[in-house]
């Protein structure tokens, strides 16, 4: 008869308490010897299983960072959220039935023939057009390498823009998203002052346009 697991444990921990018959069986039986080796190993593992706690100040410092991450307050979170929006926009664009590039038709920095001369006044006004929409964009004067962008999408035909639209601003590493109001308005605050692509999602149409660097 094979040794019980308790007898096998006793063979390791207190061999003197194990009857001689059991000990000699364990020594000669391959199955019991294998279980003995396994028991020795698991006891060794349990002997090492108590790991010391990290120092309390290390836990406190780590917890501060984790709390910020949980609250979604880190810069990394903001970038991640923006990145996710942009990825969603790009997924949407792949599915959109119609993608159009809006053409720049007016820039307040550039003189318009027969209309007026160039204007340095803020905000800088830009106008874009597609077959179906006109998009007006106003850029504030850059400050601390950022600027604000406001815009409005107006349909050339029909009374209003489709509901549920949104705009994504992609300025290289930074990306953000803003909803379109029922009047077709949108705005971004503190965009990095560099060339920015806008993706305007309207129902089944995606309009792409490029806003120049507001610093010139």
């Amino acid at each position: 008869m094979h040794a019980t697991y308790r007898e096998i444990l006793d063979c390791i921990e207190s061999p003197e308490s194990v009857p001689r018959g059991v000990r000699s069986h364990v020594e000669t039986c391959s199955r019991c010897a294998e279980r003995l080796a396994e028991a020795r190993e698991v006891l060794g593992d349990f002997g090492q299983a108590r790991l010391p706690s990290p120092p309390t100040d290390r836990i406190a410092r780590t917890w501060e960072r984790l709390e910020a991450l949980l609250a979604g307050n880190t810069e990394e979170d903001a970038r991640r959220r923006a990145g996710e929006s942009l990825r969603a926009a790009l997924r949407w664009s792949a599915e959109a039935t119609r993608q159009v590039a809006a053409v720049l038709t007016g820039d307040s920095l550039v003189p318009a023939a027969g209309l007026r001369g160039p204007s340095q006044a803020a905000p800088r006004m830009l106008r874009y057009e597609t077959d179906s929409y006109r998009i007006a964009v106003a850029l504030s004067a850059p400050a601390a390498k950022t600027y604000d962008l406001r815009g409005q999408v107006s349909p050339l035909r029909g009374a209003s823009v489709p509901a549920g639209g949104w705009v994504a601003a992609d300025a290289g590493e930074d990306a953000s998203e803003a909803p379109l109001t029922e009047f077709g308005e949108f705005q971004f605050r503190r965009l990095p002052a560099r060339e920015t692509d806008l993706l305007i999602a309207l129902d089944d149409e995606l309009i792409q346009l490029r806003v120049p660097n507001p610093s010139g």
Binding site: E41, A49, S53, P54
Partner: protein, 206 residues
């Protein structure tokens, strides 16, 4: 709390669960950092990175039963990456193993052996979490509590006759040994049949 409930809470970004995670599973991160030879100043940063990585990637954990092993894997990878980065910075000689430094000084070999042991400890934590409540509580009291509890104290805490501690412990250890064997055979590196740290140790010897 059952392990799967705990992992669910982590995935839902429950602050209490994450606080417990840092205190309990942070022990694995701390142990890996110490075994890899990081000094106190670097250990703080490494510990934070491991915990932050766990928080960002908890959604990728496929099997909640493997939480401790998963934490070990994160800690091991981040630690090894840092050592590699440090090695590049110091322009150390080629041919060194994962842990850097000449293979003959024996230090890395020891560190790898300790890592193998630590990998098994993480697996043991996973096995322990999967045992029935009675076994889990008993083995935790006997082997993981700080300080380790006597049979008398354990019997009192678990409301068990002291005479049944021995047989129950044997039954629970047998189950743990069986589960650990299953777990280690299932989760070995499929290409080498070895654990990560064992593999690294053996490659060094070749």
């Amino acid at each position: 709390m059952e392990r799967s409930e705990f992992v669910n809470a982590l995935a839902k970004r429950d602050p209490t669960a994450w606080r417990n995670f840092v205190e309990e599973y942070g022990r694995i991160a701390e142990a890996v950092a110490a075994r890899l030879g990081f000094q106190e100043a670097d250990r703080d940063d490494l510990f934070q990175e491991i915990c932050l990585t766990a928080m960002r990637t908890i959604g990728t954990l496929q099997d909640p039963k493997r939480l401790a092993s998963w934490v070990y894997t994160i800690a091991y990878r981040i630690g090894i990456d840092r050592l590699r980065g440090r090695r590049r910075e110091l322009s150390l000689a080629e041919g060194d193993g994962l842990l850097g430094g000449p293979a003959t000084n024996g230090v890395q070999e020891d560190a790898l052996q300790v890592l193998v042991r630590l990998e098994r400890v993480a697996a043991l934590w996973d096995v322990l979490a999967g045992l029935d409540d009675r076994c889990r509580r008993l083995l935790t009291a006997l082997y993981l509590s700080e300080p380790r509890m006597s049979y008398e104290a354990t019997a009192q805490q678990e409301d068990m006759p002291i005479g049944s501690i021995g047989p129950t412990r044997a039954r629970c250890l047998e189950k743990a040994a069986r589960d650990l064997k299953k777990l280690s055979s299932r989760h070995r590196d499929p290409s080498t049949g070895r654990s990560r740290a064992t593999g690294a140790a053996q490659e060094r010897r070749m």
